[in-house]
């Protein structure tokens, strides 16, 4: 018996080796010199976050069209190479390796999931390739002192703290509860908001967590209903947030929900309908109410390219991200030296970024984090036809609407 086995072994080993060598040789072809300017974009383009990543992609393609319509950079066409992270750290690492070492992109941009981007940015740091993160929010990404790592959007404390002042000045809750997704975002949020609650003298009555992917939240909502908090902090992504709103209604529970801006996507509103009324969060969504001309120009350009759709927060973050990258590539000068030198020049150019874009002014701090983009406090309000939309309610100078106190379900007109 072993001798038979051995025969297959031999054959398979030879076969495998041949296969391996063949594939190895096939992929090892040299890159040609006339390549376009290549930017790598990382994101979960398949899997359950594909929709949100697709929004980011739409924003990026708009920025790409804009630059290529003007003849590209230095007369060369700009090209995006997408890397699919599937929101899994191991897959994300493989994808970023491919972008950096095989596709030889000048810069890595995009980036959605924090766990993926912590690993990816570490790799880019070792490989001295600029990594400009677009959406991932964990503070860890930029707080490790990595020279080549940047982020064009607020990190989680910035998102979360945006609402603290409103809580202290306007809402002044007495009893609060936490109902968070079991992720770094949820846990960071819990810490930051617990401190904020202590400062304004609010009592924390519950600290609940749920797993990402859960669908039945009636257990938690029933518990919350019993505790009657004025405010429930609820970090959840689109699907879970929508389900929580729906089930809160089914269990006749009313509170002021405070979440994060990322949940208020078009997909979310489509799922919840008027149920999401009164929910709040801090957001960067380029709503129509924004008076800013740059944001308005972005919104118009987006709607011209994608008729019938409206840019959400991820589209705007993606657009700004690629804009910043392209701007730095342009200022760094025509690439042509060694890849390492081009990348170093782009990194230096990134440091002196100063642009006014759809989310606001983008300037990097010493750590590569943007501190000049400030989220506003938004609330979901209904129009005459019961259609939900976010409105900026705080800070006052940017506000387009007034805060509305949640009313009992039975008194709401829109069903």
């Amino acid at each position: 018996m072993p001798s038979k086995e051995e025969k297959f072994m031999k054959k398979s080993v030879v076969l495998l080796t041949a296969l391996f060598l063949l594939v190895g040789l096939a992929v090892a072809g040299p890159a040609s010199a006339a390549d376009p300017i290549k930017i790598g974009i990382l994101g979960p383009f398949t899997g359950s976050l594909a929709f949100n990543a697709g929004e980011m992609k739409k924003g990026m393609e708009l920025a790409l069209d804009e630059v290529n319509a003007k003849g590209g950079l230095f007369g060369q066409k700009v090209e995006i190479v997408y890397g699919d992270s599937e929101c899994k750290p191991d897959k994300g690492l493989a994808a970023v390796k491919k972008l950096v070492t095989r596709d030889k992109v000048l810069v890595v941009g995009g980036g959605y999931c924090s766990s993926v981007n912590i690993a990816a940015s570490e790799f880019c740091h070792y490989e001295q390739t600029p990594d400009v993160v677009a959406i991932a929010i964990s503070p860890t990404i930029t707080n490790r002192g990595y020279d080549y790592v940047f982020r064009t959007s607020p990190n989680s404390p910035m998102f979360l703290m945006g609402i603290n002042k409103w809580l202290a000045d306007v809402k002044k809750p007495k009893v609060v509860a936490f109902f968070m997704e079991n992720s770094d975002y949820g846990r960071d949020g819990q810490k930051i908001w617990e401190e904020a609650s202590k400062k304004i003298g609010a009592k924390v009555v519950a600290n609940l967590y749920f797993e990402i992917g859960d669908t039945d939240f009636t257990t938690q909502i029933s518990k919350l209903k019993e505790l009657k908090p004025d405010v429930v902090f609820n970090i959840a992504s689109t699907t879970e947030a929508a389900l929580i709103q729906k089930q809160a209604k089914e269990l006749d529970f009313v509170t002021q929900w405070i979440g994060v801006g990322g949940q208020f996507t078009q997909a979310y509103f489509k799922m919840t309908g008027p149920i999401s009324q009164y929910a709040m969060g801090s957001s960067l969504e380029p709503t129509k109410a924004m008076k800013d001309p740059v944001t308005a120009a972005f919104v118009n350009a987006y709607q011209a390219k994608y008729p019938g759709s409206r840019p959400g927060i991820f589209s705007s973050q993606g657009y700004d991200n690629l804009k910043v990258i392209l701007n730095a590539v342009e200022r760094a000068g025509k690439p042509g030296g060694s890849l390492a030198k081009d990348r170093a020049k782009i990194k230096d150019a990134l440091k002196s970024t100063d642009m006014k874009l759809s989310q606001g002014t983008i300037k990097f701090g010493k750590d590569g984090q943007v501190y000049t983009v400030l989220p506003s406090v938004v609330q979901v309000q209904l129009d005459k036809d019961c259609k939900p939309d976010t409105q900026i309610i705080y800070p006052v100078e940017r506000a387009a609407a007034k805060y509305e106190n949640p009313t009992p379900w039975s008194e709401r007109k829109c069903k």
Binding site: P2, E5, E6, K7, F8, M9, K10, K11, S12, V13, V14, L15, L16, T17, L19, F20, L21, V23, G24, L25, V27, A28, T46, Y82, D84, K88, P89, D90, L93, A94, K97, K98, T101, R102, S114, S115, I118, A119, E122, Y126, S138, T140, R144, N182, S183, D184, R187, Y209, E211, I212
Partner: protein, 326 residues
């Protein structure tokens, strides 16, 4: 030339080709894929040891992979233990869990065992998500130390590039292969196969199936943990994702497509699926649709329906026909 000599020669040529490969291929991404293929080869070999040779279907194999990765990473990061020792420590801790799971598994078979092992992995994944102080929860551990350099006289080998890890993983695959082959070829292995084919018969000649099954469970878990440690120091990251069910599904697909209950099967399956996966990935870029997992699912079904012995069976048939013709 005697058969034995030819055999040795074949091994030497194959090994030389595998050793020289990184000198020919400079593409680092290719080397990354090769390393991952090696890690999955170890996982598949170890899973197959249990499923293929004892008939026990473990759907929680990814848990052992994750335990090994976390153990090795945490030991290196918090106690400064050499990652080289960590690899084995990871294997040992995984083996301990394997033993723990092996006891209840003795009384279970088929769907009962399948769901219990899934449950085991899911519970541990939740522990990895929730024990934030130790594991940093869903973010996982990043910045896991690299394998420490080896210095022998003037020769110094660093471990940073994919190529360096390729050699480590190649050695690890050979080590695993050696151990498993010895095990299967020994009296122990013969007994296992006798048990798989006729448990009552084996019992009647005085074999105690429980201790055999337990031993295999433990050994299988050891190698999975070992593979986990390799991953941790190679990728420099560990996350609860490692314990997820889809990793086990990848492993069992590889084993089935290669050929269950053989030694060459898992190797063939792991390598060919990795290559296929990359080929499909580049096809996806052209087609703009996700077909990779659809192909995986389809292949798994078709393999079970039409080529139960997997690629090994196909090669066997082709070879027999070639020989018959000549």
């Amino acid at each position: 030339m005697s058969a034995r000599l030819r055999n040795i020669l074949l091994w030497v040529v194959a090994l030389a080709a595998l050793i020289l490969l990184p000198q020919v291929v400079e593409d680092r991404y290719f080397m990354h894929i090769a390393v991952m293929a090696g890690i999955f080869t170890i996982l598949t070999l170890s899973w197959n040891l249990l499923a293929g040779y004892t008939g026990q279907l473990n759907l929680g194999h990814a848990a052992f992979y994750g335990i090994g990765a976390y153990t090795s990473a945490i030991l290196a990061m918090q106690t400064g233990l050499s990652p080289w020792l960590g690899l084995f420590a990871g294997g040992l801790v995984a083996a301990l869990f394997g033993l723990m799971l092996g006891f209840p598994a003795l009384r279970l078979s088929g769907p009962y065992l399948a769901i219990t092992t899934i449950g085991f992995a899911e519970i541990l994944r939740l522990v990895a998500m929730n024990w934030v102080d130790l594991t940093r929860g869903s973010l996982g551990l990043s910045g896991v130390p690299l394998l420490t350099p080896i210095q022998i006289g003037d020769f110094r080998m660093q471990f940073y590039f994919e190529r360096d890890y390729y050699y480590v993983v190649l050695a690890a695959v050979l080590f695993t292969l050696f151990c498993i082959r010895r095990l299967i070829g020994s009296e122990f292995g013969v007994t296992l196969q006798a048990m798989r084919d006729d448990e009552a018969g084996a019992q009647s000649i005085g074999i105690n199936p429980s201790s055999y099954k337990l031993a295999v469970f433990t050994i299988s878990a050891f190698f999975a943990g070992f593979a986990g440690g390799l991953f941790a120091h190679f990728a420099r990251l560990v996350s609860p994702e490692l314990l997820a069910l889809h990793n086990t599904f990848d492993v069992l697909t590889m084993a089935m497509i290669g050929g269950l209950g053989t030694i060459a099967g898992p190797i063939l399956g792991a390598v060919s699926l990795t290559i296929l996966s990359e080929a499909l990935r580049s096809m996806e870029e052209v087609l703009k649709i996700d077909i990779r997992l659809i192909v995986y699912g389809l292949l798994l079904i078709l393999t079970i329906l039409f080529m139960r012995e997997g690629l090994v069976g196909v090669i066997k048939n082709v070879w027999a026909r070639v020989k018959g013709d000549s």
